[in-house]
Symmetry: C2
């Protein structure tokens, strides 16, 4: 509280107060008549102003740190996360969130609204709660749109065509870190089973976005290794989402029920396969319908109706909304509208997705990772353990590739290392459901940051730029 | 309540209940363990689910009625408004809004969440309030993005180049219906001054979108008349926004203060001109900065940061957030990024703007327009009066065009008739601030609907398709 209030007070003393008092009495009269918030009805415009201010902070943080990361050759998504940490509860405390409604009133957004827009202190808790609720839903819409976009960029046919190698890499790459991570946390650190499973699950999913981007940068996307990595990362994403749905539902009930697991696995499979089969039956009608529509936005709105209906079903049957959004993307990727839709989704994802990553970072209290505090030793040791398991668990999966003499197995393993979007989704869902202890949640965030951070330089090391070794070019379509 | 509950109960009896009881006990066990909402922390996913469901309803209503309107040659925006009326408080009562938090629990969204997603009745008021708040802010973001887009599509240089004719048409076209409407409401109907001014102001602004679209359809956009109409409509939009800012601020204080008017006019002028001048100084740096950025979404996010900062300032100095968004659009339209930005904004506007129009329609209680109820006579007479003033007030402005022998003055006047976006903004702002009585608000909505409804056929009547008369083609660039 000291920091932001001090800053505001200084701002108030130096700039705002003289501005208000020196302008002609006219202005003062008009201001005085309007400044106090004297009813709930007056809150509406202030909530909107608070949301606008929060979005400015979120976008600014995401771009500033994202650009710095891009310049030092790190994935921009990492910058959005770190930007969130900087503006969040760990550092500057600029934003408000629903869970912190009591303490939200000491955030910069609320102070700034009080100073510049006439929010009265008595209505500040109500304003903080409403703003936090809206930002929270916007960030959840962000992850829904991200998963819709990932689904749209995936290709069901390609996904089936990449063959046994990719499937084995994906399955081993999910199973090995999951088993080693969960077992290690339970046996070595005495973590209760459910949080341990959750943290183990967070180790599973490769970030398809980061991996594909790094491969494109070193011009290896169409190499044999590159194709196996991309195929496995796509499968990995699907497996990771099913694992997420399973473990986050488990997290909600607080214990492991075999019936529940079967229900969820069957539910996830039936929901995903059923919606894809049904979707493929219906997509010709969807395309015909969209083609006959004459009003603006027909494709994107029809697609979002479809995605939000599946997301709602996913949420209503106690899976996750993101699973429905992913399925919708995968189904629509099969239609002739894929390219058009991808282009339309880009700017929408651009404005929604950073809200999710910044909010995940902003909600994370990274002060538990301060090595000077002896209470943090356990969190730091856990983080180190998770990072080691995350890297080794994926590297050994490269060794499972069969029937491909001379293939760079190490490169395939390293290519699967970066955890990104889905790993952060685990941290976010775990944080929202309260299942993860703060040290464990922070350890997962550190694991995601470090694997994402280390993978690009490591991949360049073990996988020199195209042309440096005898490459058998795969189909360069 | 009777309708939606009956429908839900039938759905429950026929589909949901058998589904739940007939599926293996496994499913029942898992469902029972999870169905009840037993803490505030559980509300998060349900609020998200409620928002998703609300968006599906909003998008579906906007597209269904919008498409019907497009097919019978009416502007789709009219369909979004009517779609909103259909799903709103007047008819099906599907959505929830902040002001109706007490009665929000009998809406379809809340009933559906209770039936399908396990929302418990005791938490329904809290869920209804949160969902209503989020939808309300999303609709306000919708109008902010709409005005940003209108600003972006405007052209400051063209706006100055269209010359004296357009300026006079714009000024007379704002002043005549404003004066006649306000005076008539006060003198003939005894409406208090502030609401009368508000309703009069709602008569001012021509819908540039609708007018441009109709002119394009009849291939008259580049005719001399078409150019004057478009130029005047652009100016009209700016004047309308200043008038809106002035009258909505007046509405908040409840009375007319000369000091307040001067403060607001000066404030609006200083803010708009100042931000445009300052913006033009800064845009070269903005363009350089965006060109140097390397991460995804750099243009749209930088632009939205700029737009939201101006929108925040607009809201904080007691003007309107939309005025800042419009200024930001106008400034960015001057840069080399205009075309790129316009393309990026299209899908974003496509998903946000319908929320605004549908919510405006949904909040409107059109039952006051039932002619069978004698209490409604005043509202209906007012609506008739407003429609007549709205049409005649614009038609006479066509006669003010000077120095253009042989020009189709009637066509220019009729071209200015459709009120659209901005007229609805007045109704929405008036409704939100509580300044408009229900009959007067409904009368404004009817005026917007009817002028928008009548203008396209009228314009075709007085302005035959290009080539039917001796056209002097203006620069067909």
């Amino acid at each position: 509280m000291v920091d932001s209030t001090g800053w505001i007070a200084a701002f108030d003393r130096m700039l705002w107060a003289p501005l208000q008092t020196n302008l002609v009495p006219l202005l003062a009269v008009a201001s005085e008549a309007e400044l106090p918030t004297d009813s709930e009805a007056e809150l509406g415009p202030l909530v909107l102003a608070g949301v606008l201010l929060s979005l400015v902070i979120i976008y600014f943080a995401s771009k500033l740190v994202g650009e710095i990361c891009a310049r030092i050759n790190l994935p921009p998504v990492l910058g959005e996360l770190i930007g969130g940490v900087v503006v969040g509860v760990s550092a500057l405390n600029l934003l408000v969130f629903p869970e912190g409604s009591a303490s939200g009133t000491d955030s910069f957004v609320i102070n700034f609204l009080q100073t510049t827009a006439g929010l009265s202190p008595e209505f500040s808790p109500a304003a903080a709660e409403a703003i936090g609720e809206v930002i929270s839903v916007l960030s959840e819409l962000g992850v829904i749109i991200l998963l819709f976009e990932i689904g749209l960029e995936s290709n069901l046919k390609e996904l089936l065509r990449v063959g046994p190698q990719a499937a084995i890499v994906a399955v081993v790459g999910v199973a090995a870190p999951f088993a080693a991570g969960t077992a290690g946390l339970v046996l070595l650190f005495g973590v209760p089973t459910v949080p341990a499973i959750f943290a183990g699950a967070a180790l599973t999913a490769t970030s398809i976005g980061i991996t594909a981007k790094v491969l494109a940068e070193i011009q290896r996307l169409s190499s044999r290794e590159g194709q196996i990595i991309i195929g496995a990362a796509v499968l990995d994403d699907v497996l990771g989402i099913i694992v997420l749905a399973v473990v986050s539902s488990l997290a909600k009930t607080g214990e492991i029920q075999i019936g529940n697991i079967i229900y969820l696995v069957v539910g996830a499979a039936v929901f995903l396969i059923g919606s894809i089969l049904l979707g493929r039956l219906l997509t010709p009608y969807f395309v015909t319908l969209v083609n006959q529509m004459q009003t603006r936005g027909q494709l994107i709105l029809s697609s979002l109706i479809f995605a939000f209906v599946l997301a709602y079903i996913g949420a209503a049957i106690h899976l996750e909304a993101i699973l429905g959004a992913f399925a919708a993307g995968l189904i629509l990727a099969e239609t002739e509208k894929k390219k058009d839709l991808e282009e339309l989704v880009i700017p929408i994802a651009d404005i929604f997705v950073p809200i999710f990553f910044v909010v995940v970072g902003a909600r994370t209290d990274v002060s538990v990772l301060n090595p000077l505090d002896p209470n943090n030793r356990e969190a730091l040791i856990m983080a180190t353990f998770l990072v080691v398991v995350a890297i080794i668990g994926k590297v050994i999966t490269g060794a499972t590739v069969f029937g491909q003499p001379g293939i760079n197995r190490l490169a395939i393993g390293i290519g699967m290392v970066p955890r990104g979007e889905v790993g952060l989704v685990f941290a976010g869902v775990g944080s929202a459901s309260g299942i993860l202890s703060k040290p464990l949640e922070a350890a997962i965030i550190v694991m995601v940051i470090l694997t994402t951070f280390l993978a690009p330089p490591l991949l360049r090391l073990v996988f020199p730029e195209s042309g440096a070794e005898a490459v058998e070019p795969a189909q360069t379509s």
